[in-house]
């Protein structure tokens, strides 16, 4: 009993010590003022084409400050999808559908903190998703360090076209923490960690799995818990150019482990052109219940290739052209981005040919950005 009291007392003291250290760290920073995000307008035309799927549409975003410390952001995003992917052509028929997403958020700045409260709602004929999020960031250590905490809660309603008897739900939780750190006048890094939890219907009512060569509806667990950690570094190389590197590690309770590596280079040309180029590599292990063609009856079984063993490699480029600029008043840029990505699956067979499946995709973005 006495030992327990002593241990508790020690913990209290350690907590007090940590509190005092954190207090001292915050005090070094002194009182600074965080800036509100700039007033912005963005218009985007996006196209994804590959693997039998075309998804395209416009998107718009406007952010405007309504007082010294408060700004509002509204956005609309449309995805018009024409799907003749390998899943669809081997087990169902080609379809078209449209997804609309509306989002609204508010930023509030007080001294060296920023609080962002946001919500979004996404609608498809057979799926509705609502999200609510809260993010807080705080500059410390003389503005050299920014610490961020965030939370997102999601609620989905899952339906099935032409099957009114099918109705289910899914709930999502995301908790994130991040730190960005100025290392030197030329180098900056960030470390972000996120814990994600899902509960409910986490599959697709249209997708089939294969057991002993026969198609059966897929059966997924109703919970999933994941952890992700991402490290990023940006460095100014001195000739109006910069390099970017990032790595992300992902793991979850479905036993998927993923690694993402990205390397990029950016450079100004004359006063008005900025170009970026990057390489990205992604690889993952399959989920424990994934099977190309299961040879035993199990509680869970899926042939969702997103849960299989695969990798992809991408090469991308972006160009930004400054059209008009009035210092302190406004700035308008025209931008274009293109990415080519190749997916290679290790344990997902193309049922039409019997070969391991692979495909390439192109991602195109044309957008205008303005700050005012």
């Amino acid at each position: 009993m006495a030992a327990t009291r002593a241990a508790l007392s020690l913990w209290r003291r350690l907590a007090a010590l940590l509190g005092s250290l954190l207090g001292g760290l915050l005090a070094i920073g002194g009182v600074r003022a965080a800036d509100l995000p700039e007033d912005t307008g963005e218009g985007l035309l996006h196209v994804y084409k590959g693997g039998g799927v075309t998804a395209a549409g416009p998107a718009f975003l406007v952010r405007k400050s309504v007082a010294d410390r408060f700004s509002l952001t509204g956005s609309y995003y449309l995805d018009a999808v024409s799907n003749a992917s390998i899943d669809v052509v081997t087990t169902a028929s080609k379809y078209k559908e449209t997804r609309h997403e509306f989002a609204l958020s508010g930023d509030y700045v007080y001294r060296d903190s920023q609080i962002t409260l946001g919500g979004s709602t996404s609608h498809e004929p057979d799926y509705t998703a609502n999200r609510f999020s809260l993010d807080i960031s705080q500059e410390v250590f003389g503005g050299m360090t920014t610490v961020a905490l965030g939370f997102t809660r999601g609620d989905d309603k899952v339906g099935k076209k032409d099957s009114p008897e099918f109705s289910d739900t899914a709930r999502h939780w995301q908790y994130r923490v991040g730190i960005s750190q100025i290392l030197s006048p030329r180098w900056i890094m960030s470390l972000n960690a996120e814990a994600l939890s899902d509960d409910g219907y986490l599959g697709s009512p249209y997708r089939a799995a294969q057991v002993f060569g026969a198609a059966v509806p897929e059966r997924n667990p109703r919970t999933r818990s994941a952890r992700a950690l991402m490290l990023r570094v940006n460095g100014d190389l001195g000739s109006r150019d910069a390099m970017h590197a990032s790595y992300r590690y992902y793991t979850d309770t479905w036993e998927i482990k993923g690694h993402t590596l990205e390397l990029g280079y950016s450079r100004y040309f004359q006063e008005t052109w900025l170009a970026d180029a990057y390489l990205r590599y992604y690889t993952q292990d399959k989920a424990s219940f994934y099977s190309d063609n299961a040879q035993s009856e199990t509680l869970y079984v899926s042939r969702n290739r997103q849960l299989s063993t695969f990798d992809n490699a991408a090469i991308g480029a972006k160009v930004s052209w400054l059209w008009r600029k009035e210092p302190g008043k406004y700035e308008v840029k025209f931008n274009g981005a293109y990415e080519f990505v190749h997916f290679k699956f290790k344990d997902f067979t193309d049922l039409r040919s019997g070969d391991k499946y692979a495909y390439s995709a192109s991602i195109l973005q044309l957008y205008v950005t303005g700050t005012f």
């Binding site: 002593a6 250290l21 001292g24 963005e42 599959g203």
Partner: protein, 85 residues
């Protein structure tokens, strides 16, 4: 708890606070101060050095990857949620 660890914790508290607040110049341990001054951060403020430049194109590419890869999260980009898998 014996008096020794209690005194030790109290001494650590005082030392930690003193060092961090930089109030005692006679202590030989150097204080940690922000070593990149605000006027030295001009290069870091350039768009070329930002982790995030435009919200919409980043949201799009994040969405494209989220619905095709098993991994997600920790990118700092807010996803919207959909039934696109």
């Amino acid at each position: 708890m014996s008096p020794l660890p209690r005194a030790g914790v109290a001494a650590l508290l005082v030392l930690g606070a003193t060092l961090l607040l930089g109030g005692c110049s006679s202590v030989s341990v150097p204080t940690v101060e922000p070593w990149v001054k605000p006027y030295e951060r001009e290069r870091l403020a350039d768009p070329i050095m930002r982790f995030s430049r435009s919200a919409l194109p980043e949201k799009h590419i994040e969405h494209v990857r989220d619905v095709r890869e098993g991994s997600r999260g920790a990118t700092g980009v807010q996803g919207g949620g959909c039934g696109c898998n």
